[in-house]
Symmetry: C3
Subunit: 160 residues, 3 copies
Amino acid sequence: MSENNKSTLIVFSGDLDKAIASFIIATGAAAMGKQVTMFFTFWGISLLRKENYHGTGKKSFLEKMFGWMLPKGPDKLGLSKMNFGGLGAWMMKYIMKKKNIATLQELMETAKEMDVKLVVCSMSMDVLGIKKEELIDGLEYAGVATYLAEADDANINLFV
Amino acid sequence: MSENNKSTLIVFSGDLDKAIASFIIATGAAAMGKQVTMFFTFWGISLLRKENYHGTGKKSFLEKMFGWMLPKGPDKLGLSKMNFGGLGAWMMKYIMKKKNIATLQELMETAKEMDVKLVVCSMSMDVLGIKKEELIDGLEYAGVATYLAEADDANINLFV
Amino acid sequence: MSENNKSTLIVFSGDLDKAIASFIIATGAAAMGKQVTMFFTFWGISLLRKENYHGTGKKSFLEKMFGWMLPKGPDKLGLSKMNFGGLGAWMMKYIMKKKNIATLQELMETAKEMDVKLVVCSMSMDVLGIKKEELIDGLEYAGVATYLAEADDANINLFV
């Protein structure tokens, strides 16, 4: 292994398939002993939303619209391709369950247990009008400088 | 910081959200003292088109078709998701303006001022039939070998 | 050139344009003397399907559905944007042929001749129900740990 012991992933997409790929890479790298940072930005923040949070707090009309349109958590995500109104996502989840492949929720739990750092892009939260109370626990909040400082020390840096 | 002082981004996508993310990363890295190269390929070239250029030069019918279909510059881009025929892009631009977040145009200006190298993939220009006179000033034109030489020396290399 | 002599690409997308970009980068890096590994996962596996394989083997109904929906090989891929039911892909292929730019099939042949390693993600094959006999010859089959081991030693790592 190289002497460099960090990896970063920017999770820009809010698609189920890309989210699964991101967490498989992240947990795989953590299992190799890497210190992994995932930086969630734009649609990627959808993954971290609580499914049952319904308060909207003080939001503008447009912020509320983004709030309604963005999926609430891993179970609500669609596929980047062949989603067919959710059928594709359902098929993929059904098959993965039947074959005993870890679900996205399980991968996210594993990532937390392995101390993968989950960092949310504060600018994206501002743009999409997402508040901290809408998101799951155990997250850090930071800007692009924090991401770049981690990536600068890492040798595997991916944008998903 | 690592001793390595370069970063590269391949901007493949022509989406507003991915363009904003790319330029935030690029200007952030430049602010850290990195020498940043952005390599625009395929749909990413849309970002660099002049809004008001109407000459089509000597183009084949298919080249003209690509020319009509590709957005002309940063103000014409759509979102990668939830664009709803331009409504989503309008919402995002409206919110960013209201919250005093830099627009894509401003980020592009900042990138130029910070000496971020903007390199256009000459093969993509050939395929899409885009001519130099259709693009903004201050660009370099090169092929994949130029990108790879920069990326080989860099430690943050992303494909957006 | 840096002392580091490896590059990796994760080919997640099954789009013609992203496939072309991936193989241009891969063959370009191989031409520079890099040892290149391409890791095909999720929809990226479509690129490696044989066009004329029609047996379905023992597949469940859902696996057959994925099999029907996924494109069979490089000639059946669509564009990530402006595909218009295949018209965009046809336009791009027509123009590239007319301008004597290498087709995706030719790029794939070149990659093999240059000893670019083509590795297929075995978990994705399992999820999509794709069997080895459906795929072209000359591939390796492995999991994320194999990818990470290569990427850890490489200095250009991209997710396409």
